[in-house]
Symmetry: C2
Subunit: 366 residues, 2 copies
C-alpha cells in the first residue's frame, strides 16, 4: 500500500489534545482509502524549550525529521511560560520563522470561512453576511520586511536608530501571484491583490508584476486594493471577496483580521507551501491551525479540533496527493456541523445543538 | 478681538460642500465667542491638478498660505478622474505626504467613536458594543517605511528588486509616545502600544522606548499588542480600548479598520499635529475628516458634514486655543444626534428620526 512519511509537531497549549484527535481521524482515512503514514513525532515550541533547558524551540532532530518527511503536521506553539524569553528563541518566532525559511515555504494559504450556519459566531452583523463567506487569503511568507536586510540597530548622531528592509525580487512576486491566480481558477475566479503602491516602492513592483502575471490567467478578474482600504472592506463586506493575495506583513495582519471576522478561529486550517516536488504536482508543506495555542483552555478537553483536522486534510491534498481522503475529511466535518455538533466556541446554546468537547467532536467526525 | 489665520483647503468630491457648512458653523462660534478667523481659501488635490494642467496637487501658493496660517482646515482629495496619474502627483499622496513632511506633522490623532445611539451603523454586532465605544488612535505620521531611505528599485542578478526602509530614531518614538501618554492622561489612562517586536528591529526599539517613556506617566496603564493581534481585537472588542499608539504604516491600517468598525466614517475628524508653537501649548496642525472624498455621493447635498465640522472643532482646540468654541461645537453635534437628526449614512429609517441632508444637518447643529 502507499506509504508516506509525515512529521508530527504538536507543540504547546491545545496543540497536543487536538493533535491526538486528528491522528485518530487520519487513522480512519488511511484504513478506508488504503494508504499509510509513518509518523515522526517531534518536539517544537515551548515543549522543546522545556526539554532542552531553554536552548531552542526548534531542535535539530525536529528539523531533520521534517527534512525526511513528505509534509509537516504542526499544532500550535507558545504560552505565558515562555513569553519573556529573548525574541529569537520564543516559541512562535523561533520555530515558525526558521521552518519557513529553511523549507522555503513561500506560499501561505489561509482560508477565512464562515459557514452559513455559524454566522452567529462572527463579530460582524448577520445581515452583512447572510450566507456566510469563504475567502482564501494567499500570503507571501518568506520575503518582505520579515527577512529583508539590513535589519538591526546602530547609533547615529548620538541616539539609537533601528531599521528593517521591506524588499521583494520580481521572481518572488511572480511565484506567489501564480499560486494565487491558480487558486482563483479553482474557485470564483476573482483575485484581489493588496498593496500600498501609493507609498511603497516594493508595492509598485508588486502591482506591476500582478498586472503582468494576470495575462497568464485571462479568465481571472484581477483588482487591487490599498492595504488600509482592504482592512476596512474585510469588515464591511467579507462576502464580496474570493481570493486575496498580498505580501508577508500585510498578509500577517489581514489574514488574522479575516480569521477573527469569520468568528470560527477554531475551525480554520492553513497551509504553508514550498516549491513543487520534482516531477509532481505536490508540494512540500507545513499545515497548522490558524488560531493559537489557547493556553487558557488547554488541557480541559474543550478545544475545537476542527482546525487541526482540516489542516491534516490540506496535508493529504497538497503534499500526499490523497485527495479522496482529504475530500472525505472535509465532507465529514461539514456534515458534523450540519448535524448540530458544537464545541463551546461555536455554540449558541440553542436546544437543537449537540454540545461536545474535543474528543466528542472527533467522534462525530469519525 | 482675537484674530487667527487659517488655511481652508476644501479639495475634491464632498470636500467643498461639507466645507461650506463647516464655515457657517465657524461663523457662528466666532460671533458667539468673540474671535475672528481670516481664511485663505486655496486649491488642493484634484482641484489643483485641474487648475494647473496636471502639474501638481499641491501648488506653491497653497503651501505658502498654510505657512502663514495658524492651522489648516482640510477637506478631502481624490477621485476617479485623477486615479491614473503617476503616483507622485496623485491627489492623496501628492498632497498629503508633502504637507505632513513640510510641516513636520508627526502626530496623527484619529478618534474612532461609535455613539451608543449609532451602534446599528457599525458592522459589528450590537451585543459586542452595547454602549458604543470611544477609542483614540495615535499614529506616528512622518517616519517609518513612508519616508525611510533607501527606497527604490534596482537590478540584481538580472531582475528588478524593489525596497523600502522602515526606520525609527529613538527620539521620534519618544515624542509620539509622549503625545499618546498625554492624551491617555486626559482620558481613561489606558494605552495600548502596537508593534511587531517579534519580527521587526524597529519595533523592538519602539517597545523598549515605550517602556521607558511609561516611567514619565506612572498613572497610565501601558500594554503591548502585536499588530496582527491588534487587527483581531479591534473587531472583537473595540470597546475595551482607550488609546492606541503605533507607527506610521500600522497606524494607517488600524485606524482605517477602526473607523470602519465605528460605522460612522462620516462623523470622524482627525488632527495631524506638528511641534508646539514657541512658548505656548498650541500646535500647528492640519485637520481633516477621516473618510475620503466620496465621489459617488459628491454634489448631491447628502454627505454628512459632521466629520468636517468636528475637524474644525479640533482646529479651534489644538491650534487656536479657542476651547470654549470647540466645546460648543462638540456639544451641539452631540445634541443634534440626540435629537434624532440623521444623514443617510447613519439613518435606520425609524419613524423617530429626522432625515436631513448636508445643509439640514448643519442647520440643526447651528
Ligand atoms: C509568530 C509570528 C512571527 C508569526 C508571523 O508574524 O508570521 C505569526 O504571527 C503568524 O502569522 O504565523
Ligand atoms: C493617501 C495615503 C498616502 C495616506 C497614507 O497612507 O497615509 C492615507 O491613506 C491616509 O491615511 O491619510
Amino acid at each position: 500500500s502507499r506509504t508516506y512519511r509525515i512529521a508530527v509537531l504538536a507543540g504547546d497549549g491545545i496543540g497536543p489534545e487536538v493533535m491526538t484527535e486528528t491522528l485518530r481521524v487520519l487513522d480512519a482515512v488511511e484504513a478506508k482509502f488504503g494508504f499509510n503514514t509513518e509518523r515522526s513525532v517531534q518536539l517544537v515550541g515551548g515543549a522543546a524549550l522545556d526539554a532542552t533547558g531553554n536552548e531552542t524551540p526548534l531542535p535539530a532532530a525536529t528539523v531533520e525529521a521534517c527534512e525526511q518527511s513528505d509534509g509537516i503536521l504542526f499544532g500550535s506553539v507558545g504560552g505565558p511560560k515562555w513569553e519573556n524569553l529573548p525574541p529569537d528563541i520564543q516559541p512562535e518566532r523561533g520555530a515558525l520563522l526558521p521552518l519557513r525559511k529553511h523549507f522555503g515555504l513561500f506560499a501561505n494559504l489561509r482560508p477565512g470561512v464562515c459557514l452559513p450556519s455559524l454566522t452567529h459566531a462572527s463579530p460582524v452583523k448577520n445581515e452583512l453576511i447572510p450566507e456566510g463567506f469563504d475567502v482564501l487569503c494567499v500570503r507571501e511568507l518568506t520575503g518582505g520586511v520579515y527577512f529583508g536586510t539590513p535589519k538591526g540597530r546602530e547609533n547615529r548622531d548620538g541616539e539609537p536608530v533601528a531599521f528593517d528592509t521591506m524588499v521583494y525580487k520580481k521572481s518572488e512576486i511572480q511565484r506567489i501571484l501564480r499560486v494565487a491566480f491558480t487558486a482563483a481558477m479553482g474557485r470564483g475566479k476573482k483575485l484581489v491583490s493588496v498593496d500600498k503602491a501609493n507609498v511603497l516602492a516594493s508595492s509598485v513592483l508588486w502591482r506591476e508584476t500582478a498586472l503582468e502575471v494576470a495575462k497568464e490567467f485571462p479568465e481571472v478578474e484581477l483588482s487591487h486594493l490599498y492595504v488600509d482600504n482592504a482592512a476596512m472592506q474585510l469588515v464591511r463586506r467579507p462576502g464580496s471577496f474570493d481570493v486575496l493575495v498580498t505580501e508577508n506583513l500585510f498578509g500577517d495582519i489581514l489574514s488574522d483580521e479575516m480569521a477573527m471576522i469569520s468568528g470560527s478561529l477554531g475551525m480554520l486550517p492553513s497551509a504553508s507551501l514550498g516549491a513543487k516536488k520534482e516531477g509532481s504536482d505536490l508540494y512540500f508543506g507545513m499545515y497548522e491551525p490558524s488560531g493559537g495555542s489557547a493556553p487558557d483552555i488547554a488541557g480541559q478537553g474543550i478545544a475545537n479540533p476542527i482546525a487541526q483536522i482540516l489542516s491534516a486534510a490540506m496535508l493529504l491534498r497538497y503534499s500526499l496527493g490523497e485527495s479522496d481522503a482529504a475530500d472525505a475529511i472535509d465532507a465529514a466535518v461539514a456534515k458534523t456541523i450540519d448535524d448540530g455538533y458544537r464545541t463551546g466556541d461555536i455554540a449558541t446554546g440553542a436546544a437543537t445543538e449537540k454540545k461536545v468537547g474535543t474528543q466528542g467532536m472527533a467522534d462525530a467526525i469519525l
